[in-house]
């Protein structure tokens, strides 16, 4: 436990010391939030209703998808995981500690967004705070699992960027962050359901913001947790401390199993 706490304390401080992580965790989501608040609300007044959940979802998704996979790939290529392996750092800790510290940073960012959107833009506050926190946690779990899995299965930084963008760009377009789910045509709605932000926005609207959900809000929470936990478990299973390691437990293609909960969400009514 002491070792884990020590590891956690060091990684948390790194998140503040490292300029790139500081930018990804704090500056980028907060600057985007301010830009969207000052510009998007004028263009589309309906955005005011969802500025808090959509910017929280954006902050979590952007920081984790851009930060965690890159961290995993570069640390592996730099031999850091080899050194951890030799010194007995468990693969679960190698992946969980940076994820947990990113979680703390993103909860702080989410609190800043939630606390300032009212005074700055007259945005409505959540009507059910415990549910708001629960959905934010579910989104964190989902995105941590996916981000860590991308890092673990990517053989290079280029590949990792490509996989991250395959999730990030459609999520921004159809995930309910920029456009409400019910504005989308039926085909796009089906596609949207395989991306975590759709479920986070659906659950925020139905359980925390006092608006109606487009489909089962509790079902979305369950999918977010299930999808995140499954992806994280797969990441630990497929973890590779070195590209040349021949004792890997499974082929990276097994990561496709992580899609199952999201595909199952098509059945949610």
């Amino acid at each position: 436990m002491t070792a884990f706490l020590n590891h956690f304390a060091f990684e948390f401080r790194t998140g503040i010391r490292n300029r790139q992580l500081l930018f990804l965790n704090y500056m980028f989501p907060l600057l985007f939030y301010l830009m969207m608040g000052f510009i998007m609300i004028d263009i589309n007044p309906l955005f005011l209703e969802t500025v808090v959940p959509s910017m929280v979802v954006f902050a979590i998704m952007a920081a984790l998808l851009m930060g965690i996979p890159a961290y995993v790939v570069t640390a592996r290529e730099a031999g850091i995981f080899r050194s951890y392996y030799i010194n007995g750092v468990p693969s679960g800790s190698i992946l969980a500690v940076p994820s947990l510290t990113a979680c703390i940073h993103l909860l702080i960012v989410s609190a800043i967004i939630t606390g300032t959107a009212g005074p700055l833009f007259d945005a409505p506050y959540p009507v059910h705070w415990p549910n708001f926190l629960l959905v934010a946690l579910a989104m964190l779990v989902a995105m941590i699992g996916i981000s860590v899995l991308i890092g673990v299965i990517s053989p290079s930084t280029n590949f990792q960027v490509m996989l991250s963008q395959i999730i990030f760009i459609p999520s921004m377009l159809v995930g309910g962050v920029m456009l409400p789910y019910d504005f989308l045509p039926t085909g796009a709605q089906m596609l949207a359901r395989i991306f975590p932000p759709t479920h986070a926005m659906n659950a925020f609207n139905g359980l925390a913001m006092g608006k109606g959900a487009d489909f089962s809000a509790w079902g979305s929470v369950a999918i977010l947790f299930a999808g995140g936990i499954l992806a994280f478990w797969l990441a630990i299973y497929l973890f590779n401390w070195d590209r040349q390691n021949q004792t890997r437990r499974g082929h990276p293609a097994l990561a496709a199993i992580a899609l199952l909960p999201w595909l199952a969400s098509l059945l949610l009514a």
Partner: protein, 305 residues
């Protein structure tokens, strides 16, 4: 000689079709420093990494302090200390944090004394990325030693270091040997190996071509003694120069270098030749073959045992 702590038997390591290590066998005994030498790609790092549990052997048997590294990595971790060739530390970790971090996972208290002993006291709060090459190497060694391992694996520990730091690291290796630690050292540095290793093994194309003490290895070569001569008028710079017992010769800067099988007649003939041509000796050196000479002899295929 003590009991073997590192045992390598018929060890094979392949990467696809390429055989990196081909049935090598050697033992390292308790309290011994064993130097593994060889050109790039000879199989040194593959051997070390397999003994450290990082790679799985494709044949043969490995034992480190009685543990099979490919089967019992958990037990092995507290028995060995490893200084990797690459840094293996995050850029933003400080010296103090790195010591606390690794000691915590080994279940021991941070060894602040080692930080001080290795001259890193003033750098305790400095991030890894801001340390010099020498300081990084010293930190890597401090981390490898912090939990008092029985066996140390050092991969090019002094590469790129200044003379003072090398001497300091050599002294620390000798201290570890004195407390009973067994050290397997992979290096390109012949002088280092000759100076601190009790025994040496030379790897070439994945095969262990020779092993023994530095003296044994240098003595098993072609037996040529090197005679280096410099004269005032450079009278030895001519086509027809020939002396008894000289096998080969070449010129390096202002010196003529002769390799002789019988030093007495060679030196006498050189002096006589120089004097007879009205020239004068400025410098004449007789040197036994160094480990480097023997290594070059082996790697160029002139003589292997």
């Amino acid at each position: 000689m003590g009991q073997p702590v590192i045992e390598v038997r018929e060890f094979i390591k392949r990467y696809g079709d390429h055989v990196a290590v081909d049935r090598i066998s050697f033992n390292v005994h308790r309290g011994e420093i064993y130097g593994l030498l060889g050109p790039n790609g000879a199989g040194k790092t593959s051997t070390l990494e397999s003994l450290e549990g990082l790679r799985r052997p494709d044949g043969g048997e490995l034992r480190v302090a009685g543990v099979d590294p490919s089967r019992d990595i958990r037990r092995l971790r507290n028995l060995i200390g490893v200084q990797l060739q690459t840094s293996g530390l995050p850029d933003n970790i400080t010296v103090e944090e790195a010591m606390r971090f690794f000691c915590a996972y080994h279940g021991v208290r941070p060894n602040e004394g080692l930080i001080n002993r290795l001259g890193l006291r003033e750098k305790r709060k400095t991030q890894y990325t801001d340390l010099s090459t020498g300081q990084k190497r010293r930190l890597a060694l401090a981390l490898a030693l912090a939990h008092g391992p029985e066996v140390l694996f050092l991969d090019e520990p002094t590469a790129g270091l200044d003379v003072g730091t090398r001497v300091e690291l050599h002294a620390i290796m000798q201290e570890q040997k004195a407390r009973g630690a067994t050290i397997l050292l992979a290096t390109h540095d012949m002088a280092e190996a000759e100076q601190i290793a009790d025994r040496i093994g030379i790897l070439l194309d994945g095969r262990l071509v020779t092993t023994g003490t530095p003296l044994e290895i240098t003595a098993t070569g072609a037996g040529l003694t090197k005679v280096s001569v410099r004269t005032e008028k450079d009278s030895l710079a001519r086509e027809d120069v020939a002396f008894p017992a000289v096998q080969r010769m070449h010129r390096k800067d202002e010196y003529h270098i002769f390799f002789s099988t019988d030093i007495g007649p060679t030196v006498a003939a050189i002096i006589q030749d120089v004097n007879s041509r009205g020239d004068r000796l400025i410098d004449l050196r007789v040197e036994r073959p160094s480990l480097e000479d023997r290594f070059l002899e082996i790697t160029s295929g002139e003589n292997t045992r």
